[in-house]
Amino acid sequence: MSDRILTVEGLEVSLPVPTGTLNAVQGVSFHVDRGETVCIVGESGCGKSLTALAIMDLLPKRGRRVARELSLLGDPIVGVPEATMSDLRGNRMAMIFQEPMTSLNPAYTIGNQLEEALLRHRKVPRAKARERAVHLLERVGITAADQRLRQYPHQLSGGLRQRVMIAMALMTGPDLIIADEPTTALDVTIQAQILHLLAELQREFHMGLVLITHDLGVVARIATRVVVMYAGQVVETGTATEVFGAPRHPYTRGLLDCIPIPGKTKRGERLGTIPGMVPSLVGHIQGCHFAGRCPFTIDACTEADVPLTAAAGSAHEVRCIRADELMRSGFQIVESVA
């Protein structure tokens, strides 16, 4: 078990909103072992970013988190004093954010901000911290690192800033990195570079990586395991091969249909869309959260809450009472219904 880096068991996150309580994350469970890349996918508002922030204990001020278990390297990270958390944050676990343009402090040099990450957690001389910063900037593909250290964030492009953020996360040599849509704000050409860099660094530093992304193509290539979230819940989880090769949840299926596949999708052919809207998470939703948009919904779907159940003899779990039935029929029932 020494290789277990992160355990998340029954994580709940709620936020007060004017109309009540927003149950943004409802019982999310997953784990990350050393050397694993776990990808969390799902549409905007499904709770994946809040899951990440909850692990780091960086939720918005009024956000509440509870979990049956939330532990890093075997030690609990929920219900512990803030001092303990801040000793771990940026030290054993680091986070890379969505917005590289605004995630660096405009008033300080890149060097200052990189060094600070190490100096907070290690008793090393400033010169050593600087040395490490130069080394990591070079590692993340920034040339003339010495000069970059003296520059300010506004003098760097978005791609460079995200590389700086990645280098910053690596300063202490963390065991876990959480990257929350690290490429959303970047140019398409830069996106692939950054994601590949992350995957490479994860192997090189032998860390656990939680990657939250929309880019299912990348997920398919680099994920050890995939967690598909919908409306605050995990709806399907398994290895990348399991989830992408044989999706068992209608939502996962729908997500995959939305992506063009080179060579397979014909020019001019309409890409799939999932009709309808994500349900409001204020209050309690009875039964399956996806029922309102699912073409396979039957009465039983909304009668009781649907548990996450594993397929026989594997860790491929799905939250759908008709999963087996749909798999056997090859998801064809839809035609007869429609």
Binding site: M85, R89, P106, T109, H154, M168
Partner: protein
């Protein structure tokens, strides 16, 4: 940085020149200066003599450049009332006003900035409401009224502080408080707004994600960014304060520039008034320049282009 400083300096010089032109023409806007000096019931010949004696018969442009030429050499003319060189009187009184101004702005800022920070860190808390109340009261109260109230309470009723004069530091307490409290509301509200905005920003989240201690996050990462607009505002407020010092110095009988201004207005001592307005304006221009420099130091986006 050097280029930026040079640019700001150039602008400051231009502003000072414009101000000097306006102050100079003040004399003419307020009527024929020769008639004013001669006083009521003077004969035409006397007025003509005065006009020639002071050089009012020359074209105004010539007079201005003549005045400016002397002014840059430190010669601001002779006071009509005091029969002394204006510059001597002004430089005798200036340190008192500067001291009062420094005390007042220090009081105002040390009251406003910590309260603003506290209000932003705990929005809608008891601190926030107390700070808001102080700000509303400070904004609504006229300086002269507040000064008089202080005299009444601390000077007359409690007898804690001396009412007038400038013999000791205690004499400066009430005037500095009266003057400085006026500066506090705007600075406090801007500090609060700035801190609230900065505390919600992505780079503060990054700082917390690095595990930095709350004090480091607050003071190193948040305050430095939040205080940038406050510096500019404080400079403007300092200007209002210089104006306010005319009232306050008169109330507390402090022998500074403000009091001198009041005396000169009563005596219709034009060269003196002209010079006081000019000096106060130049102090304001210098303060603004220093504020610009401080901001360039705080914000690399201004400094490095």
């Amino acid at each position: 940085m050097a280029i930026y400083a040079l640019k700001r300096f150039g602008v400051a010089i231009l502003v000072a020149l414009t101000v000097s032109m306006i102050t100079f023409s003040m004399v003419y806007i307020s009527g024929d200066p020769a008639i004013t000096i001669a006083g009521e019931g003077a004969r035409i010949e006397d007025i003509e003599n005065i006009r020639r004696y002071y050089g009012f018969d020359r074209p105004i442009i010539v007079q201005y450049f003549d005045w400016l030429w002397h002014a840059v050499q430190g010669d601001l003319g002779r006071s009509y009332g005091l029969r002394q060189p204006v510059a001597d009187v002004i430089f005798e009184r200036l340190p008192t006003t500067m001291l009062l101004g420094a005390c007042a702005i220090t009081f105002g800022l040390t009251l406003a900035i910590p309260l603003g920070v506290l209000a932003a860190v705990k929005p809608n808390s008891i601190f926030d409401r107390a700070a808001l109340t102080l700000a509303v009261v400070g904004q609504a109260m006229p300086t002269f009224w507040f000064g008089l109230t202080l005299i009444l309470v601390f000077g007359v009723m409690l007898r804690w502080l001396p009412i007038t004069g400038q013999d000791s530091w205690w004499n400066f307490v009430m005037p500095a408080v009266a003057l400085g409290y006026n500066v506090a509301p705007a600075v406090m509200r801007l500090t609060r707004a700035g801190m609230l905005e900065v505390l919600g920003s992505d780079y503060i989240r990054t700082a917390r994600a690095k595990g930095l201690r709350p004090m480091t996050v607050l003071f190193k990462h948040a305050l430095r960014n939040a205080v940038i607009p406050v510096v500019a505002l404080a400079a403007v407020q300092f200007g209002f304060m210089l104006g306010g010092s005319i009232v306050i110095e008169t109330i507390f009988q402090i022998n500074g520039l403000g009091y001198l201004a009041w005396e000169s207005i009563q005596r219709k001592d034009l060269p003196m008034m002209q010079a006081i307005v000019l000096i106060l304006s130049i102090i304001y221009v210098v303060i603004t320049f220093l504020a610009d420099m401080l901001n360039a130091f705080l914000d690399p986006r201004i400094r490095v282009t």
